[in-house]
Symmetry: C2
Subunit: 343 residues, 2 copies
């Protein structure tokens, strides 16, 4: 008596719904396809059958058929970093809002991304958004070949594999310079992290160039990583140079926070009286009391929406020319660039 009745936990299929509603499977399919022609009555019957059974179309099957999933891979490194977390949060929300499903790929010390990324491609991705880790060329090519829209956020401009959202380093440099100069800085320094991210390196060199083009001096202070600890250590390490400066560009808020603590606690300098400081990104901690750090905001929300829009556009016009967009920057003036009594 081993009667083989369908197990209780089987998902109902369109077949089940069709049978219960007394229609064909195509009817069911049409019922769940936005622009399909179906009579009001059948639709109702199907709908009630569907809800009764708890039917939900199997996305895998649907995607297999339509050769297109709603899956979008997000590749992000250093997710535990405040700005990156914000970026990813907004990306995820923006994608979901547009009906996509974000697949999260966190990769750090560039542990061989290649296999991972290309295994994501197995899912017939609707797109891929990369923030801050340069995807291996193989993957970029693969995306191109498979016509998977690829959006790079703040990535190196070279490989030109996909659409890009890119910081306008010139504009950034000018904004930062203005903030520091207006606050009275004349002898500049900038933190140069050694883990060379394009954006960050770009900011450093653009800033230096700009400062020098004004006939002012700009020291580059090397510091290991883009972290609080590195920022602080760097200040200690370059103490002498620092004493000759009155304006510091932290390159990144995380670095800037570390630097601020170094300036105050290690070198006993007053900010902004002895030295003005500006960061970049406007992470939450920049506004915390001990920092009150002037910075430049990158609007993660707008950036995310732009990324999704670019992806969607590419999806519709795979052969359109590559786009590159500069999202807007907004200077945030806080205590570290406050005007002090001159003279």
């Amino acid at each position: 008596m081993t009667e083989r009745r369908p197990p209780e936990h089987r998902r109902p299929t369109s077949h089940d719904v069709a049978r219960l509603a007394g229609v064909s499977r195509s009817a069911v399919s049409r019922c769940f396809t936005p622009g399909a022609s179906i009579s009001e009555e059948t639709r109702n019957r199907i709908m009630s059958a569907a809800t009764e059974l708890g039917y939900r179309a199997n996305a895998l099957a649907r995607n297999l058929k339509s050769q297109q999933s709603q899956l979008v891979a997000i590749l992000a490194s250093r997710l535990d970093t405040p700005f990156r977390a914000r970026q990813v949060k907004h990306l995820s929300r923006a994608l979901i809002a547009e009906g996509f499903r974000p697949l999260l790929l966190t990769a750090d010390h560039s542990d061989d991304l290649e296999p991972l990324l290309s295994s994501m491609l197995d899912y017939n991705l609707a797109g891929m958004i990369v923030t801050s880790d340069t995807p291996p060329v193989a993957v970029v090519d693969e995306c191109k070949r498979l016509r998977v829209p690829l959006v790079l956020i703040n990535r190196n401009p070279e490989p030109d594999g996909g659409d890009r959202i890119q910081l306008d380093t010139r504009a950034a440099a000018e904004t930062v310079f203005d903030m520091l100069y207006t606050a009275g800085a004349r002898r500049f320094a900038v933190l140069r992290p050694e883990d060379r991210t394009y954006t960050v390196m770009g900011r450093v060199s653009a800033f230096c160039e700009l400062v020098r083009s004004k006939g002012l001096s700009c020291h580059q202070l090397s510091c290991g990583t883009q972290s609080y600890a590195a920022g602080r250590a760097s200040i200690r390490q370059h103490a002498e140079l620092i004493h000759g400066c009155d304006g510091l560009f932290g390159t990144t808020d995380l670095l800037a926070c570390g630097a601020l603590d170094g300036l105050k606690h290690d070198l006993f300098l007053r900010v902004p009286e002895d030295i003005r400081v500006v960061g970049f990104d406007d992470i939450e901690q920049a506004s915390w009391a001990p920092y009150d750090l002037s910075t430049v905001r990158q609007d993660a929300g707008a950036q995310a929406e732009l990324a999704v829009a670019m992806m969607r556009a590419r999806l519709q016009a795979p052969d359109a020319p590559i786009r590159r967009e500069h999202p807007p920057l907004q200077p945030i003036l806080r205590g570290t660039t406050e005007k002090t009594e001159t003279r």
Copy 2:
């Protein structure tokens, strides 16, 4: 002459590989199936054909057939919060390490999760991991019915829909109490955020109970959200009460950091001389110079691995009894509970 030749960007299928290698599609499939029987020679032929064509098995089709995807949904709220970001990072890594693909669902002001979550279920999830947002009952039931393993991290114990990783609030309370008491605190206060997360509320009440069971006093200071700003505001608001206390449990590092700044900059109290402070989570900022906050570490990495292991176990034994695990806690002693010259 509109010759319809296969578009260049079509993915090669097992069929293409089979043809090139001169074998059947089944052979190709077997070649990519771990424990299948296939001769060394055919395997080689197939493999080289596969690499030549750049073949990768279509995950959608595979999953459709096997009724099981490698997709795991992570539901996380407040991703832009340091501890949550760390959690998600580790979850993502742990999942990927085990061959799963994390789908990221960020939901905040509990914008109707239900449709979202259940639409995720359309992907034949291999599991679902929820951190900090209680999933609607409907979804929990759905998971149960569809036998989708559900792991809840630090969620309310009531619905008992899935396996849980849960803070041991008693142990947490004892750890915190010890840290404060040992540092000399006798008159306690605790921050009570109004956005009632189970874990957080549990910490608050367990702590208060414990303190009172020792015959000591414990004031609950209400504060709006679990944020830096709320922590700081709360201190200002409860200034009088605070002045009568010498030990504060911040409930969350974010709150504790805000509180610390409130204590120092608004009430002009010295920490730890006038009042000792302990946070919870050990976010990076707790170790920053201005805070140097004693706290209790929840090991996000271990937590994530545990979550994935539990998920995997449930996948293999859907009917095993529900598990509940308490991940270990580790007190981190820093400046805010330093012993000061007594008397």
